[in-house]
Symmetry: C2
Subunit: 351 residues, 2 copies
DNA sequence: ACGCGCATTGCAATCGATTGCATTGAAGCC
DNA sequence: GGCTTCAATGCAATCGATTGCAATGCGCGT
């Protein structure tokens, strides 16, 4: 007796009709009982609920959503740059996803995590068009302000973590990047640093603003930026770029890296070249990821209100879904966290 | 240029019937045309597809899934320990999620990311029972082998990242933790370290195995473990615990931390107490997270084949869904990556 | 005893797609 | 020309729930 695989169609998922049969009532009654409708008598309701628990029955939420038209899933979209999926490696992203997961769970939403090509942000729209998700949370606006505007204009529920930009039709939440950049400039100058470089891809709006804030503040103090390097948020490139900068300009004494990841990479490269941090070169990062304070040396950095930001994004998205008018851009305060990596040059005094 | 786009018609998503009307055919035809069925003539198919693109129409995959019974969503479940959501902060998890996202996307599946209480792993079952996901990928078995067994026994499609255990009914994929532990022991001994401590929560099967492998190898060389501390995977506790250990036993010269995160925390604590790493104390981590090689000092650690592991988990789960018989436990090779944090004691020589 | 009202419950339509089967019309064959 | 054949399309049932409305039954007032 050679039963071909499927030794059993062991149990198809039980469904409402089955439970109804077991309880000797109609599916309508089961539906109402499980939903806690007051139309159902106390007895019946409890009997049915017990039965459901006993048989591990859970209403099929796909069917429910279809019928009721309400969706309880939000897509969180993490773009990656072509050729590398490494963008996902940034601990900042990790923190953000955690914050979003918390905020969504708290309000009873599920989170669909999706990665897309950063060149085609609008591809994310199919998640909503296809009914998989009620709305979109996008992390970073990358180089496609235009695509985002188009998405928003056709009425897609959308919130983006990123910078406030001119002529912006979509809703953003983000830290105050200009302010962040200024804070760093002020700090480095106060530590007596003057030969400064900037690390980061200014093709990204957020980074561009950090850069503008940074250079604006420097200019006000009559200091000129020595160099800037366009580098993506990748450890490896950070390391290489920092090394290259040192070759060109060995007397650098301060680095502003536009993310903590880059800062850590830069510190690695500096040490490899025999520079001491912070004695010879002060390094400041951005984001204040959890590891920043445990790095060696502990990282001075600009703290982004990640948890507050995640909650704000969810709030804005749900408001949109509820049909409310939402503020176009929300800019959150940032603050500088001073740690070892940028302490004053101390005694060394030279140059 | 006046492609006057429909003025914000936030009302209703277009649906198949609408498109059918526009194309002057029935919904069946549209369905088949979009699915690329050979039943439809070339002309019609193209006309409909163009139309769909024009109107940003995407078939509602919720309805599709309901009707066809096929689900294209997998739930990835990240447990958190009560009282703290910080478990999400471990960079290892982040890497794992990235690997899973890649593997799932590659096969055309969506990823539902879900956090649950580590005490109630079985709560994750509702995601499948409720039809939201076709199957479950759980990261870590935590303290609930029994719950997992029960889930598997009632036929839930499930794969767990974790250790191979006796009497295991569910499917696991994981690194060879015993081997990992042995590798670390061998390495530390080879570096001349003898006063060793272990950091990690042996209540978790994976950690317990690392611990067993570690101590077994030590014993074979006649060395005895000095101390072990039961500490969760949290930076803060790692730091405090390391400090406490040092108080009790100031002459420690080697630390095996059961995760890179803990290793980094331990290094922080050691430095605070004036110990040099690796000169005074060698530290070895576990996981080989991306930052490990960029830490200061670069971390010696046991590399877990995260990408391969993610792919393997997806593979096993899809096999289960296809009704195939799958191997119960898959154990992947690990290897030691030697870096600065555990270099031989060198010249220091003292007490 | 009759009728009314209220508390429960069931029937059947519906959500947005897919798909087996029937239908149509034209081409092919003798 | 009449009949078969086949390609292309439409009809209607279906997936697993929800919900407006109709139906049932029981208590109670008079």
């Amino acid at each position: 007796m050679n039963r071909r695989s499927t030794p059993a169609d062991p149990r198809k998922r039980m469904q409402m009709a089955d439970l109804a049969r077991l309880a000797g009532v109609s599916a309508s009654t089961v539906s109402r009982a499980l939903a806690g409708s007051p139309l159902i008598s106390e007895d019946t309701r409890e009997r049915i609920q017990t039965l459901a628990r006993q048989f591990n029955y859970t209403v099929n939420s796909v069917a429910t959503d279809l019928r009721s038209g309400v969706k309880r899933t939000i897509a969180v979209v993490v773009p990656y740059e072509q050729g590398t999926r490494q963008s996902f490696a940034d601990p900042f992203l990790h923190g953000m996803i955690g914050a979003l997961a918390d905020a969504l769970t708290e309000r009873g939403y599920e989170m669909l995590l999706s990665r897309i090509d950063a060149e085609r942000l609008d591809a994310a729209a199919t998640l909503v068009d296809g009914g998989r998700a009620a709305g979109l949370i996008l992390i970073g606006q990358w180089r496609h302000h235009d695509q985002l505007n188009a998405m928003a204009e056709r009425g897609l529920p959308l919130v983006v973590w990123g910078a406030k930009l001119p002529r912006q039709k979509y809703c953003t939440v983000g830290g105050d990047n200009m302010q962040g950049g200024r804070l760093v400039a002020g700090h480095l100058l106060a530590q007596g640093r003057r030969r400064l470089v900037f690390l980061g891809d200014t093709g990204l709006p957020e980074v561009a603003q950090r850069f503008r804030g940074f250079t604006a503040a420097l200019k006000e103090h009559g200091v000129e930026l020595q160099q800037r390097a366009n580098v993506p948020f990748l450890v490896e490139s950070g390391r290489q770029t920092m090394a290259a900068l040192l070759d060109e300009q060995p007397d650098i004494d301060g680095v502003f890296a536009s993310s903590d990841l880059l800062a850590m990479a830069a510190i690695g490269a500096l040490r490899e070249r025999g520079r001491r941090v912070p004695e010879d070169v002060a390094v400041v990062g951005y984001d204040d990821v959890e590891l920043a304070r445990h790095f060696n040396p502990p990282l001075t950095t600009v703290s982004q209100p990640i948890h507050e930001g995640g909650a704000a994004m969810v709030e804005q998205l749900l408001a949109q879904l509820a049909g409310e008018e939402v503020t176009r851009a929300r800019v959150l305060d940032t603050r500088l966290v001073e740690r070892e990596s940028s302490r004053a040059a101390g005694s060394p005094a030279h140059g």
